[in-house]
């Protein structure tokens, strides 16, 4: 990894089943894009790859391998020659792979044939940025172990993939704590436009828009959180939890994003307008 880029971590599909001891799930935020990148290079879908925030990485393989970039749209070149995004690319040893800054979307996924085979921690190779479990975020000059290729890549011609829009409608399940808010608050959430704030990372994305007013202000006893929960702290500005979210929290959750919309919302850049539509 010659140049790591802004924020690049190793991700697979995360650690499931440990929330009861306080271990977050982690895993690729846009899991569909990681799965696709893995399929393109002939890996099992759950192999570990790289999640590069806004792209902008340079890699140099020690031996000939196949790689693919999906997710956020990035210009791609190998030894200065442009190559196709979203397709498997064969590269010789010591080539320079340059992944440009993302022109659309937020998180690029880089898969290599054989996968990134750092030692798994608690069943996953994912970096969990909240608790620090798993490999450290990638830095310039890091050497990453790559496994033996599972088989020849499938030889896909076109990988269908929709570019992330600048305005999104997100389906939500109202609750579980909608009764902690005024009736107007749920109406406000489902009829207003919220912008994704620049305060967004792998833990949560803050949303900017009309505040959501609580019906009462008691402290909510800590309770388990699900992926996609829209939690409302005391200032009334909602935030949406992503894969590195804490396992329990003490602010009420007014709604939960439908799992089918998690991948696309993970590609929404700060400034993107969101509308929530109740299921």
């Amino acid at each position: 990894m010659v140049r790591a880029g802004l924020r690049t971590t190793i991700q697979d599909l995360g650690r499931v089943g440990l929330a009861h001891i306080g271990v977050p799930r982690a895993g690729a935020l846009d899991a569909a894009s990681l799965r696709l990148a893995n399929r393109l290079v002939g890996n099992p879908e759950d192999a570990a790859g790289l999640e590069a925030t806004l792209g902008g990485c340079v890699l140099q393989p020690s031996h000939a391998m196949t790689f693919a970039v999906t997710g956020a749209r990035c210009a791609l070149s190998v030894d200065g020659r442009p190559r196709e995004w979203g397709l498997p690319v064969d590269v010789p040893a010591a080539a320079t792979i340059t992944i440009g800054s993302a022109s659309a979307g937020l998180r690029a996924y880089i898969a290599v044939g054989g996968g990134v085979v750092v030692p798994p921690v608690l069943g996953s190779r994912s970096t969990d940025t909240l608790s620090g479990i798993g490999p450290a975020p990638i830095r310039d000059g890091d050497v990453l172990p790559v496994g033996p290729p599972a088989g020849p890549p499938p030889g896909v011609d076109v990988a269908p993939y929709a570019l992330p829009p600048t305005e999104m409608t997100v389906r939500v399940w109202v609750g579980p704590r909608d009764d902690w808010f005024t009736p107007e608050a749920v109406h406000t959430l489902c009829t207003s436009t919220y912008a994704i704030s620049t305060m967004t990372d792998r833990v949560a994305a803050r949303l900017v828009g009309p505040p959501l007013t609580r019906a009462f202000t008691d402290e909510l006893p800590s309770e388990g959180l699900v992926l996609g929960a829209v939690q409302v702290p005391t200032d009334g500005q909602p935030l949406r939890f992503l894969a590195d979210h804490p396992t329990t929290g003490g602010y009420p959750v007014i709604a939960v994003v439908d799992p089918d919309d998690l991948d696309s919302i993970a590609q929404a850049r700060p400034g993107t307008s969101l509308r929530f539509r109740p299921m």
Partner: protein
């Protein structure tokens, strides 16, 4: 008891009395072990149990309403191990807690080590257990401003809970002592020493 929807694949079971959480949690764990419940996560909270990644949500929601769980009891001692925590009572807030409890430093150690705690739920950090069982007369408010660095192994109190910091982190709990026990070890199975339902007893090794 109320069953709330938490997204497409989640159910949040809310109980009246926090003492009912552990029996419900353990009942769900048993049902999963018996192949009667297909879920990704069973997560106890202060007054809730979350089921996440529920495979057949309508059926599970209906089953919950027919479940009979012994309420108002602590977890069954015969099924669950007790972890003993050797503790040096020398925390930065030991004098403050002694004043609140109307006793001295040795009195805090004696009272705290006589309480039978149990792991109510986890959170805040991997392996951080909220320990229930603290009698109401011993409840203490958290500090008005959290400390930047609380060392790993710090034994502390906040509200109605006890806790032990599994690693150095910021924190606002009242620090009364410390232990050398390793609370979270990635190579152990399970990695957390204190899992929900575990009974916990503090053993004084020094009072300074």
């Amino acid at each position: 008891m109320r069953v709330l929807r938490a997204g497409r694949r989640g159910l949040l079971i809310e109980v009246e009395d926090p003492a009912e959480v552990s029996p419900w949690y353990l009942a769900f764990v048993d049902r999963r072990a018996a192949g009667l419940l297909d879920v990704d996560e069973i997560v106890p909270g202060a007054q809730t149990v979350l089921l996440d990644g529920v495979a057949d949500l309508p059926r599970v929601a209906a089953d919950i309403r027919t479940m009979r769980v012994a309420s108002g009891t602590d977890p069954d001692a015969s099924n669950h191990k007790t972890i003993e925590v050797p503790t040096s009572y020398d925390g930065l807030d030991l004098d403050h807690v002694a004043r609140l409890w109307n006793t001295d430093r040795a009195g805090v150690a004696a009272a705290h080590s006589s309480i039978e705690f149990y792991v109510a739920f986890c959170g805040f950090a991997p392996g951080f257990a909220y320990l229930g069982g603290l009698p109401e007369r011993y409840h203490v408010q958290r500090q008005s401003a959290p400390r930047q660095r609380v060392p790993a192994g710090t034994v502390a109190l906040a509200g109605g809970f006890g806790g032990i910091y599994p690693r150095e982190s910021p924190g606002g709990w009242q620090c009364i002592g410390r232990t050398e026990l390793r609370l979270f070890d990635l190579r152990a199975n399970p990695p957390a020493l204190l899992t929900p339902g575990t009974r916990v007893r503090f053993i004084p090794v020094a009072v300074r």
